[in-house]
């Protein structure tokens, strides 16, 4: 019993981080119908940024969130303006974005590998090696911090979307782009902003995973599969959905990891994806697409 509780806690401790990793991709898909296959590559980019800040100037990776978020926000704005803004009216826009972002992911991977080689990296703040102990249970401090900060960021994002004028405009654009235009929302501007926010979330994820996972330039290939599973499982474009999916799958993966070994843990995600596509293709919180 204790063992099960322990695994459950470890799983939940990772859930928040997974949720943060998928939240940006969910937002980007929800607002712009862009399938951002480069999302994990941007997370790795954020992780490298956190790594060098830590290595060169001893900036705590948690503190570096304050750098990686704005940095990736600006990269997101530039990237959207340069690549997507002019193509947003293309009838096959979503198909197009799959190819464009896939290429972008490979470019980021190549550039990172060129400059920083393929060596496994991670930041090593003091709390990375420590655990909270209580009774028979333990929780790695790093995971607790990372998940708490992730949840704070996701809740802030949610409050922003729910209660601010710009947030309402983003939600309106997610629900009906045409109607948003009719009421006077500048959807091009809103899309650019939302893309920036989505990548800012990727930047924050990068900082936080830099001390809970090891990473290297090609690591994004493994992560994007996992993130895609979470986004689809949650119902493409539903923030709440990807949050629930993240906690669910992080916990499930922790159990698989314990009983079957670490190499089987990733299977959990794909198995869940397989099942959800079979029985509820619109995802947990998604809507059926009509017509």
């Amino acid at each position: 019993m204790n063992q099960i509780l322990q695994i459950l806690m470890l799983g939940l401790c990772l859930g928040g981080v997974y949720a943060l990793m998928s939240s940006g991709m969910t937002l980007i898909f929800g607002v712009m119908r862009i399938v951002n296959l480069a999302h994990a590559a941007f997370i790795v980019l954020g992780a490298y940024l956190a790594f060098w800040l830590f290595k060169l100037w001893h900036v705590d990776p948690i503190v570096s969130v304050a750098v990686t978020m704005p940095a990736l926000f600006l990269i997101g704005i530039g990237y959207y303006r340069l690549v997507f803004a002019r193509r947003a009216d293309n009838p096959r826009f979503t198909d197009l974005t799959v190819l464009i972002t896939f290429a972008t992911g490979l470019v980021i991977e190549g550039v990172l590998a060129f400059f920083f080689t393929g060596i496994y990296r991670s930041t090593t703040p003091v709390y990375a090696q420590k655990s909270f102990l209580f009774g028979d249970f333990f929780l790695p401090q790093s995971q607790v911090y990372a998940t708490v900060i992730s949840i704070v960021l996701i809740v802030s994002l949610w409050l922003f979307l729910r209660y601010t004028r710009i947030g309402n405009a983003i939600r309106a654009t997610m629900q009906n782009r045409n109607a948003a235009q009719v009421v006077g929302v500048n959807v091009t501007w809103i899309s650019t902003l939302a893309f920036g926010i989505g990548l800012a979330m990727a930047g924050a994820s990068g900082s936080l995973i830099s001390f809970i996972f090891t990473f290297y330039p090609a690591k994004h290939v493994a992560w994007i599969g996992m993130i895609m599973c979470l986004v689809v499982l949650g119902g493409m474009g539903s923030l709440m959905g990807s949050l629930v999916a993240s906690f669910l799958l992080a916990t499930a993966a922790a159990f698989v990891n314990f009983y079957f070994g670490a190499s089987y843990a990733p299977i959990t995600f794909y198995l869940a994806l397989f099942l959800i596509l079979l029985f509820r293709p619109q995802g947990l919180f998604g809507k059926k697409v009509e017509g």
Binding site: A172, Q175, N176, A179, A180, Q181, V182, V183, G184, N186
Partner: protein, 248 residues
């Protein structure tokens, strides 16, 4: 001198062909105009171009003496010219009240928006009743009413409606047209695009026939209803006598 003057407007989508091919039209204030014409004549394109959702390739659109061609949609809204699209285009996962609030998006003063919404609740009690309901749970007629009320939040001087009867049952169509007549009686200028040409013309002052992207015929709604050529093309001939009676 009309409130809205359209001069030789040419417009189309993307890099596609011209849909509007030099269209001119003068809309006088406080009157209702009904635009009819076959599919592909450019009726919706005209409304989208006026609303600022589509940039005219050439020509001028002047509203209350000001050139508005090429302005963004939000700028056109702020000048008192609103648009209700044909698919009603609500925000499905927002409540009726949130939808109405989005109607006031271009107004910075949220208290004023809430005040306007309260006024609209008096005018349309059904919306007050449904105010906390998600838009997607409403019937087609109620959704159309929300779409109209959402445009009214800005207290426009002129409202453009694209196919308000689309997909609604005859009884509900009657109600919606009743609402539109009510708006006209309030002194709004109305530009109505309608497939249901007979009904649209009946509640309008002026009828405009678009064909192949130009203004091919314009006359009082009554004359359009009674014109033998129009009857043959758009109204169905057998209704001739009926139409004449409606004009009395």
């Amino acid at each position: 001198m009309g409130t809205l003057v359209i001069e030789n407007v040419v417009a189309g989508y993307g890099s596609g062909p011209d849909i509007l091919k030099g269209l001119s039209l003068t809309v006088e204030s406080c009157k209702a105009y009904c635009i009819i014409g076959p599919n592909g004549a450019g009726k919706s394109t005209l409304i989208k171009t006026i609303a600022g959702l589509l940039k005219p390739r050439s020509g001028r659109i002047v509203f209350k003496g000001e050139d508005i061609s090429g302005l963004r949609a939000d700028q056109v809204l702020q000048r008192g010219l609103c648009y209700v699209p044909s698919d009603r285009s609500l925000f499905p996962d927002m409540t009726v009240k949130e939808n109405l609030r989005m109607g006031g998006f271009v107004m910075r003063d949220s208290r004023l928006v809430d005040q306007r919404i309260d006024e609209l609740f008096v005018q349309f009690p059904i919306l007050k009743e449904k105010s906390a309901q998600l838009a997607k749970t409403l019937s087609g007629g109620q959704q159309q009413l929300v779409a109209i009320a959402r445009a009214m939040v800005l207290k426009p001087e002129m409202i453009m409606l694209d196919e308000p009867s689309l997909g609604l049952s005859p009884k509900v169509v009657q109600q919606i047209f009743g609402t539109i007549t009510g708006l006209r009686d309030q002194g709004l200028t109305i530009l109505l695009v309608e497939q249901n040409a007979r009904k649209g013309l009946q509640i309008s002052d002026v009828g405009v026939v678009l064909d192949l992207g130009t203004n091919s015929f314009e006359a009082s709604a009554c004359d359009v209803l009674n014109d033998p050529r129009i009857q043959e093309l758009y109204l169905g001939k057998r209704h001739q006598t009926e139409a004449a009676e409606e004009c009395q």
